[in-house]
């Protein structure tokens, strides 16, 4: 998964080599390992955030020895970032179009309430309640997109407004009532499926493969859903015309319009798709807590934007990648978890999170610079 808009460009540059009688070309045999690493990084800039992540992991394996560096703990981190990562994928789509969506969190909650309440409280079969929840998310996103394009308003204002609106609808529909795990298990266990845990080691062992390095890992289906969502959106962004239009619409909307792209249609598509992804996040959220908590998700907006920005996507649109967002979410997850395990006082944990975020992005930028 490399980032096409900025990444693949580096793939095979070569004025030097291709021009007959052109300027000196590089001798491949002559390059040292650092130079080689540099070229690899330059060629695959998406790998850079992984390096930052790695550095984070190494630091915490010293800061919280024993506890942090365990498959079980890594599994936890993965489970903890799943929701923000999925919302981050939705947010990435929006931010690529130079927009911002302050309503992702509340769309997720609203969708989870629709799924859960319709199924558990109103007794509608889950086969209907679940698609209804997905539809709710899609509809919310669609409304956002419609207002952004048809009224030509800044996405910040639009989603700030719909944040209030969807939030009110959420309070109204949910009556602020939590749906308990036990009740849900009874009427709609399917909604909890994403929380089901499985052990990859056992899974492969059953297939006759003894993959020792998988021992201790405990995943849930939510993580798989997250990977699937990310893969699909990665595909859409990089391999379809719609994806190209998303990048172009965010890069320079006027140019895109002049070049013949229906930017309005693209934007509506993006917002609706983002809403739908939020509804999938709702499903994962239900799985994670077993029930529905209508008060959750209030910081999800900022968290998802954070994951996107740490993942290297520009808030000005047109540049960025899904993989970056996943890694961005993981980086924050690793920091939070590592600090929690370190036993630092809560106050200084906050302090450290702030410092680490800045340091992480600094290292990222620095590697980018020396590799170009």
């Amino acid at each position: 998964m490399s980032d096409n808009a900025t990444g693949s460009a580096a793939a095979e540059r070569g004025l030097a080599e291709a021009e007959p009688g052109g300027v000196a070309s590089f001798d491949n045999a002559d390059r040292g390992p650092i130079r080689r690493l540099q070229e690899i990084l330059h060629q695959y800039p998406t790998s850079i955030p992984f390096i930052v992540l790695l550095i984070g992991v190494v630091i915490f394996s010293f800061a919280a020895p024993g506890k942090f560096l365990a498959p079980f703990n890594f599994s936890l981190i993965l489970q903890q970032v799943t929701i923000i990562a999925i919302l981050g994928v939705a947010q990435t789509l929006i931010i690529l179009t130079a927009g911002i969506d302050l309503s992702v969190g509340v769309i997720m909650i609203l969708a989870s309430v629709v799924m859960g309440r319709t199924a558990v409280v109103y007794g509608v079969p889950v086969e209907i309640a679940f698609p209804l929840g997905l539809l709710a998310g899609l509809a919310c996103g669609f409304v956002n997109g419609l207002i952004v394009t048809k009224l030509r308003l800044p996405p910040f204002i639009v989603t700030l407004g719909t944040w209030s609106i969807f939030g009110a609808l959420n309070v109204w529909y949910s009556k602020s009532e939590t749906i308990r795990q036990a009740d849900m298990q009874e009427s709609a266990p399917f909604l909890q499926w994403t929380g089901t845990i499985f052990k990859p080691y056992d899974f492969f062992a059953r297939m006759g493969l003894d993959l020792g390095f998988l021992k201790g890992w405990v995943l849930n289906y939510g993580s798989i859903v997250m990977l699937l969502v990310a893969a699909v959106i990665w595909y859409v962004l990089n391999k379809t015309a719609f994806g190209r239009h998303v990048y172009a619409s965010g890069d320079d909307p006027d140019a895109a319009r002049l070049a013949g792209i229906n930017t309005d249609r693209t934007l509506i598509g993006v917002y609706a798709l983002a809403g739908f992804i939020c509804a999938i996040a709702a499903w994962v959220l239900i799985g994670r807590i077993g029930g529905v908590s209508p008060q959750a998700g209030q910081t999800a907006n900022l968290d998802s934007i954070t994951a996107v920005v740490i993942g290297g996507t520009s808030l000005f649109g047109g540049r960025g990648s899904i993989v970056g967002t996943l890694v961005g979410a993981l980086i924050v997850g690793v920091f939070r978890n590592g600090l929690a395990l370190s036993g630092l006082e809560l106050l200084w944990q906050d302090f450290a999170v702030g410092v680490l975020i800045i340091v992480a992005v600094t290292i990222d930028q620095w590697i980018r610079k020396i590799s170009s």
Partner: protein, 258 residues
């Protein structure tokens, strides 16, 4: 009488109190090369933007092959086969050359993936993009996946021209296509324009380069202060005449609409 390929009457466009178009008329005959010349700020770019839906005129009428049209966006014009090189090029900086060339008309793969999952045929698009650029003599571009923002000024212009030349099916409009191009590359663009004409297309060429204009144009539309003040035949007038009319130093010839 021949029906003009693209025609406009009484186009007006005001920006605040700046009048960019002041009852401008326009006629493009089938299969002709029409040059549009005029001072800086005369309103040439605004004229073609109004013609292609990039700007909506305050009033005025437009006909495409005799049919009245009112484009609300450049997409509509493009869907009818009008291809334009805008003066600001309309390229997406972060996208690659190939992506830009096929922006808005990407080609899907013809196999199962293309039909089922709408997978793009990147290989094809890259090949075509490279070929079009080579035709324009832009050999220094080697990597078709380079983002457009890393190209030199002339290379960028080459991409925009190649795009219009490749896809124009009814009318091709070029707003100063050779401004940033080198000598050799400019020649290629002129050749391309002549080749488009051979294919039967009418072409609008806006240019400040009088030798170029007089070399290829069948007729010359002279724009001044927001309106067409004359249409001259390059064979019957010299370059100095054209410049004199354009700058107001000489009265426009009475009527010469051929």
């Amino acid at each position: 009488m021949v029906v003009p390929a693209l025609q406009a009457r009484g186009l007006n466009k005001r920006y605040g109190r700046v009048v960019a178009l002041d009852n401008a008329d326009f006629d493009l005959m089938p299969n002709e090369i029409l040059a549009v010349i005029g001072d800086n700020g005369a309103g040439k770019s605004t004229l073609i933007k109004a013609l292609t839906g990039a700007v909506s005129p305050d009033h005025g009428e437009i006909w495409l092959n005799g049919e009245p049209v009112a484009f609300k966006s450049p997409i509509e014009a493009r869907n009818l086969g009008i291809e334009t090189v805008y003066q600001n090029l309309a390229l997406s900086p972060a996208l690659s050359i190939a992506d830009n060339m096929f922006l808005g008309r990407e080609k899907r793969r013809e196999d199962f993936f293309g039909r089922m999952f709408r997978t793009l045929d990147k290989t094809y698009m890259q090949k075509m993009a490279r070929q079009k650029l080579t035709e324009l003599g832009l050999l220094t571009i080697q990597n078709i996946n380079q983002p457009v923002e890393t190209l030199s000024g002339g290379q960028r212009q080459g991409v925009a021209v190649a795009r219009a030349a490749a896809f124009g099916s009814r009318v091709v409009i070029m707003d100063e296509p050779t401004a940033a191009l080198g000598v050799k590359e400019s020649r290629k663009v002129l050749e391309t324009i002549l080749r488009l004409k051979e294919r039967g297309l009418p072409i609008v060429l806006i240019s400040h380069n009088m030798p170029h204009v007089f070399e290829v144009a069948d007729r010359i539309h002279i724009h001044r202060l927001g309106k067409r003040i004359a249409v001259i035949n390059p064979k019957r007038h010299t370059m100095s005449d054209a410049v004199a009319i354009m700058t107001g130093a000489m009265a426009p010839p009475a009527d010469e609409a051929a």
